[in-house]
Amino acid sequence: MADYRPQSPATPEEDWTTIIRPRTGWFDIDLAELWRYRDLTLMFVKRNFTVLYKQTVLGPAWIILNPLITTVLFNVVFGGLAGLSTDGSPSFLFYMAGNTVWTFFSSCINNTANTFVANSQVFGKVYFPRLTTPISQALTSLINFFIQFIMYALFWVGFALTGAEMHLTPWLIALPLVIVEVMLLGLGVGIIVSSLTTKYRDLAIAVGFGVQLWMYISPVVYPLSSLSESPRLRALMMLNPMTAPIEVFRMATLGTGTVSVGGLAYSVVFTLAALALGTILFSRIEKTFMDTV
């Protein structure tokens, strides 16, 4: 039961719990409230899994089948046919590393990009902090990532036992930071797109395609070092905030890659900026979105 104490001597002005006003201000997200709804966020995560794998034959096995098939494909096409360099590390692990990080990032974007449109029914009928939806999607992707990471670790051990040329480096310490960063970058870009798709539906189509293109300007199927001959292309690559995380991931686990603290710092700053912009746009849109569907 709610607790109804007699009115305290405080002036009535002070004990209102909520004030609903026209949308004002640029940064109008109530983080305390978002935290209060953490149970809902977790439940959304659970629901995302339930809904995704109900009535599928292989169920959650898809989480590891997907990257496994992609890795084999990359290995054949880019490693075998195109003969791209893998910085000297085992090509299978090289592609799996790139693909694991990239899948994590792209699923964060793709699953949050349609937040408003996909949830318009529920958003139109009941209030809860709207950010819980994209955050739950990002967390779902994070869990998938962990499962794929364990698979990667198992393959890594397998390759290590056969004496493949690779080694762990102190960059491992940076790995948790990089993983969180990738998630936040995906979330940031995703909520920017989701806010814009409320006005421009064609963005929803463009985003899937755009993310695919983005992969090819990220060092997923080739190492950054393969561009060392053309410094201009390389400088361009460094502008891509996903370059550093992927290279750091490979450096940490395979001992090859082109990494620098500066590059990683740039990537982190970019992420924070995208997240801030996304949150601002999102909070503007969420208050009046229901008037425009």
């Binding site: 109804y4 009115q7 004030i19 609903i20 809902l40 425009t292």
Partner: protein, 430 residues
């Protein structure tokens, strides 16, 4: 009503306004926006203007709420009544924070649990129990709070034996029961309900009303209840507000409020735009959509009982139909159902065309008074009807008596004015 805490305001609405833009609803595509912009730059006509749209309305604004002031005290069960478009739903939407006001503000003490539609956020694949947690969380409860109330919720919902079955196997009645049970057992200080009791059987409806009265009277929570059903308003509410054209026109005693509501009338409206009106069910208006309804050749929808009501509707379909049925659901102005018309087939339809149907309706059986009808277009027979479209709009009309030998229609006469009996024979004996 509990008066223990004197009169402690829990909701304070001041100067609340909500403006909607007409004609600019819906998301465009980037290319269209660029085209329109380019056309404007060159001073040409916008290629994306929909032909036939009323350009006077385009870009105009509409005040759904036009300065509402209202204070609600703890433990009150406040009824909100008004005609369609009076602003009830908008007020509830702002209160539930689904949309933001344009001007003014609302101050609240405590959490708001709103039920603007039954079972919002229910996921078909999940079981009843999982949905209780989910719905509780959406309405702002933590997992521990739901745990503490779980048994009560299940008991109230009468769904005990099916609680671990996915809700997609539930009947619509069970769905309502479960959804209401969750909302009613929330520890929220303010409970907002919009027409949710329209579904579900009478027995459960009574149980819900009883629960809501308890919530307000004994538990000291505050209930806001919107309904077109005056008898539930009478039963539940301790105070009632009448909204008309976005303003509060009466605030106080329930019986007086109902009387004031009766006075507000829609009979001066003869044209209805249904494109953006909400529908009775979630699936209605998707496969077939009514766009407009007009009372033909009239300046107000007042008819003599010998006169035929002539109506024109326009509609479109999203898929081919070999035939669709239409009926009218007639109600007296206090929402008492009066009857339905026999279904008629509107004929085959294909997508891409705008259909116009003119029909007449004979009101001669109706006693003097104000009525409204809902229009219901459905697929299949009446017994197995699949609703295609049913806007929530009440099309109001008034029937006046042309027969001057009849006195004013008396309250106890019901609504139907049958033709006189046929006297076969009168004989005299003795």
């Amino acid at each position: 009503m509990a008066q223990a805490n004197e009169k402690r305001p829990v909701i304070q609405v001041s100067g609340l306004k909500k403006q909607y833009k007409l004609g600019q609803i819906g998301g465009g595509t980037l290319t269209h926006d660029l085209q329109s912009w380019w056309a404007r730059v060159r001073g040409k006509e916008d290629p994306n203007t929909v032909i036939g749209t009323d350009s006077r309305l385009f870009g105009q604004t509409f005040m759904a709420l036009n300065g509402v002031d209202l204070t609600v005290y703890q433990g009150e069960a406040l009824g909100i009544i008004g005609r369609n478009g009076a602003g009830k739903s908008t007020l509830l939407k702002i209160l539930s924070r689904i949309t933001a006001p344009t001007e003014g503000e609302i101050r609240l003490r405590g959490r708001v649990a709103s039920m603007l539609e039954v079972g919002t956020g229910f996921n078909n694949e999940m079981t009843g129990r999982e949905n209780i947690y989910m719905n509780g969380a959406i309405l702002g409860m933590t997992k521990a709070e739901v745990d503490a109330k779980l048994d009560q919720i299940i008991e109230f919902s009468e769904c005990g034996e099916f609680i671990d079955t996915p809700v997609k196997r539930y009947s619509s009645g069970m769905f309502v029961k479960l959804a209401f049970a969750v909302a009613a057992h929330l520890d929220s200080e303010i409970m907002v309900m919009d027409e949710v009791l329209a579904v579900g059987d009478m027995k459960f409806q009574q149980k819900c009303l009883g629960k809501m009265s308890d919530v307000a009277g004994q538990e000291g929570r505050t209930v806001l209840y919107v309904s077109h059903n005056m008898s539930t308003i009478r039963q539940l509410c301790t105070r009632c507000v009448v909204l008309d054209k976005g303003k509060v026109i009466f605030d106080g005693d329930v019986e007086q409020a109902i009387a004031v509501y009766m006075e507000t009338t829609d009979v001066n409206v003869v044209h209805y735009d249904l494109t953006h009106v909400s529908r009775m069910t979630g699936s209605a208006g998707k496969r077939l959509r009514l766009e407009t309804l007009d009372f033909l050749d009239k300046e107000s929808s007042v008819f003599e009982d010998k006169e035929k009501v002539r109506v024109r509707i326009t509609w479109r379909v999203a898929e081919p139909f070999s035939g669709v049925n239409m009926k009218l659901n007639l109600h007296f102005r206090d929402s008492t159902p009066v009857g339905i018309t026999h279904p008629v087939d509107l004929g085959p339809a294909v997508p891409g065309k705008l259909y116009t149907t003119d029909f007449t309706f004979d009101p001669s059986l109706l006693g003097e008074g104000q009525y409204f009808f809902y229009i219901d277009v459905f697929d299949g027979s009446l017994a197995q009807a699949v609703c295609l479209d049913k806007p929530v709009t009440e099309f109001a009309f008034e029937v006046t008596n042309a027969d001057l030998s009849m006195p004013e229609w008396a309250a106890g006469w019901g609504r139907i004015h049958f033709p006189p009996v046929q006297v076969l024979d009168t004989t005299a004996e003795g």
